[in-house]
């Protein structure tokens, strides 16, 4: 089963390598990893999606918690949370199907951010399900290039990373 881990880490050089290296050497499988600074510039947040059974997830969280640079780790899989992913899709197009693609973009409330004679770039945000759906819908036209950021997530409600309301 896929788990979403929200991990606060020291914003220092080498931290990403430590985390990625841990996954590699213990044989854990990262589905996606997104990282960026938080409201506190000394702290970064990583949202890691990892696939595995309960035993593996338990080991992943315990091993991550052992890293000195990991300040706090929460497995938010079973919490109510908002998650978003950003995708850029360069799709093949021509005069005959351009309007059809634009319709799809509208349905998904995505945006066209670049347009050429034979291609356009579409930007979409949403949860992983929506991103998967837009990808599937555009595939028949010919996807030339696709970039996904990986999932970022935040628990709903007043609770914050320090547990304060």
């Amino acid at each position: 089963m896929k788990h979403t881990l929200s991990v606060l880490v020291e914003n220092k050089p080498g931290v990403l390598t430590r985390i990625a290296g841990l996954f590699a050497r213990r044989g854990f499988n990262i589905k996606s990893l997104a990282v960026g600074e938080t409201e506190d510039p000394e702290v970064s947040r990583m949202t890691i999606v990892v696939d595995g059974d309960d035993r593996i997830i338990e080991q992943v969280t315990k091993q991550l918690n052992k890293l000195v640079d990991v300040i706090k780790l929460s497995d938010i899989t079973h919490d109510e949370f908002v998650d978003r992913e950003l995708v850029l899709i360069k799709v093949h197009c021509d005069a005959s199907n351009r309007s059809e693609i634009i319709q799809i973009v509208d349905v998904f409330r995505a945006r066209i951010v670049d347009m050429g004679r034979n291609s356009m770039i579409i930007e979409a945000t949403g949860d992983s399900g929506k991103i998967d759906a837009i990808e599937t819908s555009l595939r028949p036209f010919g996807i030339r290039e696709l970039v996904r950021t990986g999932k970022i997530a935040m628990v709903r409600g007043p609770k914050t990373r320090n547990g304060e309301a």
Binding site: E10, G14, T17, R18, Q59, V68, I71, K72
Partner: protein, 541 residues
């Protein structure tokens, strides 16, 4: 910090210049950086204090890698200070540059690359704190040349601020209560004690606990000395080359109490048949160890000593006469044994004689292989921190430099490195260190002209095809010792073993004893790799 082990070089010249006229820190110059890191490791294991090693950048630092991995696997507190090229040269493939923080990342508890001399005092403080608290382990401090040459006002930080570094010292009460109930319920308990007992200084509490609940105690290789091997409740070591009675006891018990252990594959054998009838309590300070290899019924995360103190408060004396009768009968019926041969020295006999002649009071270090297992089986250890052996990584060449570290810590103690003829040659150059610092370490080589453990596996599992395990090129160890200015003696007859050991112990010099032993002796009992603990070869049911 009183002692550092190290080897100078270009990138650490400033550090060595500072050591030149410093009389507070004793520096021991080894002949190879690997010797230095193992010596620091041996020092740490014997004293409980963090060992410190210094090496230069590039090859100096990479020569530490095996030693750092060794300390990591056996949870030894160690601070490795490596030189690095100047900050502006990093990343340019400069002369003697190696990314040592990157290389050692999977084998350190933490590492630092210091880029500003003003951070140095804080980092050093943190490094020692991390290395020696919680589950101990090695920490690397990589010091660029310009940082060590720079000057800064020394400001020792009053407090440590590491928000991401926490460990649980005390167990959770609810779990403690579960453990108490399980212990009261148990009819056939066994205590399985490891290196964590020694690391937390819990040997006295373990003794009380075992006597209180009347449970037999088996120790791991790392746990040797955590419980006196001479105690009636002791079953010796368990696992692949453990005693039959320890392995039977674990296989039959209804409660297994793991204290500071990690259920290593050399201990458990086949995991699904390990302690099949037992409820398992696992006490360890590292939560990641709980449930890693074996399913645990009652996890107790915390310091072993703290948790034993809590358990002792709750538990009344128990009796398990019937169970102990059974276990003791196994011990009587399936003891450790070997066949003697006239005029041939048996390696086990040498270990037994070392035990007798030192009255079990010596510090023992070992290399890795058959001799290591015989040392564990036949040298009865009475105290913690006196049996120093590379358990997890299994590093040949560890024992001799480790013995130097032990002797530096305890100059008046009798120190024996029990070695094989293969292992001893992996760091034999440290004889020069032993001579230079007048360290009267004794090396007992159990010389069978083979990489004995490799040969044993080739005999048992590869149809006696002894591929490259013969040590035909062995030197004359006596002459070699003498060339370094140490003493040496070759011993070929059983009756000469005892006098030779006495001569070595009484000599003020490093002493190499070359015992010519039975070439094809095997270590028994043996649980074949991947087999169940209760199915042993040699000396079993």
């Amino acid at each position: 910090m009183e002692v550092v082990f190290g080897y100078p070089g270009g990138a650490v010249l400033s550090i060595y210049d500072a050591l030149y006229d410093d009389d507070r820190i004793k520096h021991v110059l080894t002949r190879h950086e690997q010797g230095a890191v193992h010596a620091a490791d041996g020092y740490a294991r014997a004293t409980g204090k963090p060992g410190v090693v210094i090496a230069t950048s590039g090859p100096g630092a990479t020569n530490l890698v095996t030693g750092i991995a060794n300390a990591y696997m056996d949870s030894v507190p160690l601070v490795a200070i490596t030189g690095q090229v100047a900050c502006n040269m990093i990343g340019k493939d400069s002369f003697q540059e190696a990314d040592i923080t990157g290389i050692t990342q999977p084998i350190t508890k933490y590492s630092y690359l210091v880029k500003d001399v003003n951070h140095l005092a804080r980092i050093v403080r943190e490094a020692f704190h991390i290395a020696s608290t919680g589950r101990p382990g090695p920490v690397v401090i990589d010091l660029p040349k310009d940082v060590t040459a720079a000057r800064a006002e020394f400001r020792y930080p009053p407090e440590i601020d590491l928000p991401g570094y926490q460990y649980m010292y005390n167990g959770i009460t609810a779990k403690l209560n579960c453990a108490v109930e399980a212990i009261k319920r148990a009819k056939k308990p066994v205590i399985y004690a490891g290196g964590g007992v020694i690391a937390s200084g819990a040997h006295e509490e373990l003794l009380q606990f075992a006597e209180r609940i009347q449970a037999p105690v088996t120790t791991t290789l790392m746990g040797k000395g955590a419980f006196p091997d001479t105690h009636p409740l002791s079953l010796g070591m368990l696992g692949m080359h453990g005693t039959c009675y320890a392995n039977y006891a674990v296989s039959e018990c209804d409660l297994l109490i793991g204290l500071g252990v990690r259920f290593d594959d050399r201990v458990t054998g086949r995991v699904d048949t390990f302690a099949p009838n037992a409820e398992i309590i696992h006490v360890d300070i590292d939560p990641a160890e709980v449930g890693k290899n074996v399913n645990i019924d009652i996890p107790l995360v915390g310091d072993v000593r703290s948790i034993l103190v809590d358990l002792l408060r709750e538990i009344e004396p128990q009796r398990h006469d019937q169970w102990l009768d059974t276990v003791y009968r196994w011990r009587r019926d399936y003891p450790l044994s070997y066949c003697t041969k006239k005029d041939t020295i048996k390696p086990q006999y040498v270990v037994e004689e070392i035990y007798k002649v030192t009255n079990g009071e010596a510090f023992i270090t070992t290399e890795v292989g058959q001799h290591q297992m015989w040392a564990a089986q036949y040298y009865h250890c009475k105290y913690p921190r006196r049996f120093v052996s590379s358990g997890g990584l299994g590093t040949m060449g560890f024992g001799f430099p480790a013995a130097l570290g032990v002797q530096i810590a305890y100059p008046d103690a009798v120190v024996f490195d029990i070695a094989g003829d293969g292992s001893i040659q992996m760091n034999i150059q440290e004889l020069a260190t032993a001579v230079q610092y007048k360290l009267p370490v004794n090396i007992a080589i159990l010389n069978n002209h083979y990489l004995g453990m490799v040969r044993q596996w080739q005999e048992m599992f590869f149809n006696k095809r002894y591929s490259h395990s013969n040590m035909a090129g062995n030197p004359d160890f006596v002459k070699l010792a003498q060339a370094y200015g140490a003493e040496g003696l070759r011993v070929e007859r059983p009756e000469d073993v005892r006098p030779a050991l006495e001569e070595a112990i009484n000599s003020p010099k490093p002493f190499v004893l070359d015992f010519v032993v039975d070439e094809e002796e095997n270590v028994y009992p043996m649980v074949p790799p991947g087999g169940s603990l209760n199915k042993m070869l040699g000396g079993s049911k």
